[in-house]
Symmetry: C2
Subunit: 398 residues, 2 copies
């Protein structure tokens, strides 16, 4: 890797976003390396439940609408992405096209679901209102106390751990060089060269990165896909960074010793969700906590997830707990992702995917591979890395 | 080990009971081997919380009184046992002499605690009644809703994992041979020799054991200290076994990132207990379930432990969950232990310690070492292995 000839692209971050980008860039004929601070596929992506749920996740307001557009397009991409990935890797990614139920446990929940239903129907999303008896017919494990449910028939799920295993293998086959335990200390810039895209932004262009052990890795393009750790990389001029913070999510992995069948669909409710796998395993998530880089599951977090889920699906009491884990979602000020050219030449951002990293991986890889080939998709304007700069500048009183 | 000269004693089971017996027998000059089916110190003893709580555990009735006598004597033995073990091993066993609180959350609990107080005082046990304000003065982390508490100032705790580490080392120093991954298939008997102690019991005398891989290990005495697995060993004549079953207990290990101080005393309540360690760690236990040899923590078990504990100590919500684990307590029909000579010559039982294996380890080791040296303590009559035989025979209609 330290040969004289620089790489076309260095991707920092070996999660689902980084690996998907590396795969696509390599397929497009570029020489690509992925640098991972720890072990690839062991961070946030591995903890994620794997919901592909743009309809269930959509939020009111302008940012919500922009997110919806990204989510719907990536969700439509998923089946072909999964099929290609499975064909190239030989690994099944566990795409389950069984739809999602949103369930209300009490009158407050039910009123909120009615509002959500109206909103989704007003923007043309496929959502169906289910009476309690209809919901329990679809999912008999639901408690008799369920008040109302919505069905989002097009919101599906994958198994992120399988996706990661498949991507890792596909990257290997495609010639991507993956270096683990290779934490990046700083971005190297050539300040003499042409400036970035921002008219007032700092100038310079990426020449590579320096690892924490001092090794220099030269590359013409640099993709920062390091999730919540993206901000820890030094060397960018002031104002060229993006604000991304860790948002802690605690998740339980459960297994039904009686095999599959308790739940068929993804189930979402106030305070959490239950995602079934095909083999009788379930993912119960997730807390949303602002606790910095704290990585331990807590008594309170686990208790609340179990309480909410048990109330709606009493049968989960019998499930075995196989794993407690914590993921750090990369959150931005508007919780929409940051994808596209940075303020210095050759720098491309791909982080801030918050709760939607698995859903948005295929689209992000496609968008970034486009940018690396100098083809910019109109959707990129919704994810512009410089959208926080103005407010930051104003906030600083400059 | 397969040399011609037989060992004086083979102990089956590398938990706290087996190791403590081996240590004491070796100190008395006997040649001793411990055979452990899996890894020593990794089963029930390792999961145990380590309460030394004869006063808190005492139950009404005849069996309860017998258990109390055993428990009080072993509790009195613990400080000297711990000191000797620490001196010989160099490992601190974490004996904390801070006493135990029994706390009531509601009127039902409070009425039950009053009954428990009367009972304990009637048999002369040291227990003090605390008003809610007094209890919260001792343990400010208690919820304001606490209704009543009892203090058992002489019920303490140790860290079983430290005790096991110390015993392992002390056994090594004392010359005990520990063989792990050595599951015993059957007891070998010499049917020509003198019979057992029971007048009507089956005759024969132990000559050793055969491992599952066929290896024969010769010994003059055999101690069965294999907890709930004790019944799985074959080769004993009909009627010479003891009824012992696994009783599942789920336990959480918690850690306070803020360090020690949340709780100083062991706290017991309906549905569980919290045992503090000196370093800010806590053990929250335990379910009591009849589920055979099932070893997985469940959503329902963990949920209920957290719910009960949180209600009384809301501050545990902030604690990290370091571990979920399951132990299989060896239970007998009256839940009292089985300690003493078996129905064939040379056979000694040491199992059935149920919820009190850590508490009773020093006394059990002392009693069994006595039996091996042909000195029988009067207390053994309370633990007689043949006490279930008559009822079994009657039950079988013979």
């Amino acid at each position: 890797m330290s040969e004289d000839r620089p790489l076309d692209v260095v991707v920092v971050g070996g999660g689902i976003i980084g690996l998907a980008i590396a795969w696509r860039a390599s397929q497009a004929g570029m020489s690509v390396a992925v640098l991972e601070r720890d072990l690839a596929a062991q961070g946030t992506s591995r903890v994620a439940a794997g919901m592909l749920a743009p309809v269930a996740e959509v939020e009111f307001g302008e940012a919500g609408r922009r997110q919806l557009e990204l989510g719907l397009r990536s969700a439509r991409t998923w089946p072909a992405f999964a099929a290609e990935l499975e064909a190239q890797s030989g690994v099944c990614v566990g795409l389950m096209r069984t739809g999602t139920l949103l369930a209300a446990r009490d009158d407050d929940d039910a009123r909120e679901l009615e509002r959500q239903l109206d909103f989704r129907q007003s923007i043309g999303l496929a959502v169906r209102r289910l009476r309690p008896s209809e919901a329990r017919e679809l999912e008999p494990a639901l408690a008799p106390t369920v008040r109302l449910a919505l069905e989002a028939p097009d919101d599906h799920s994958v198994d992120p751990r399988q996706v990661l295993a498949a991507l890792r293998r596909a990257c290997g086959t495609a010639g991507v060089r993956l270096r683990e335990h290779a934490p990046v200390a700083r971005v190297e810039l050539d300040r003499e060269s042409a400036g970035g895209t921002g008219t007032d932004g700092p100038s310079g262009a990426v020449t590579g990165v320096t690892l924490q052990d001092g090794e220099l890795i030269s590359a013409g393009r640099l993709v920062l896909a390091a999730g919540p750790w993206s901000e820890q990389i030094e060397g960018l001029p002031a104002g060229a960074g993006v604000p991304v913070r860790p948002v802690k999510g605690q998740i339980l992995r459960l297994r039904d010793p009686a095999g599959p069948g308790l739940l068929r669909r993804v189930l979402r409710f106030r305070g959490g969700y239950l995602v079934p796998r095909a083999d009788g395993r379930y993912v119960l998530g997730a807390t949303v906590e602002e606790r910095g880089f704290e990585l331990a599951p807590t008594a309170g977090g686990v208790y609340e997830l179990l309480r909410e889920a048990r109330e709606l699906v009493p049968g989960i009491s019998e499930l075995e707990i196989e794993e407690l884990s914590v993921g750090l979602r990369p959150g931005t000020p508007d919780n929409a992702p940051v994808i596209g050219r940075g303020a210095v030449g050759g720098l491309v951002w791909a982080t801030g995917h918050y709760r939607n990293g698995i859903l948005l991986a295929p689209l992000t890889a496609e968008l970034v591979a486009g940018v690396l080939a100098d083809r910019d998709d109109p959707l990129l304007s919704a994810c512009a890395p410089d959208r926080f700069v103005a407010s930051t500048t104003v906030g600083a009183g400059a």
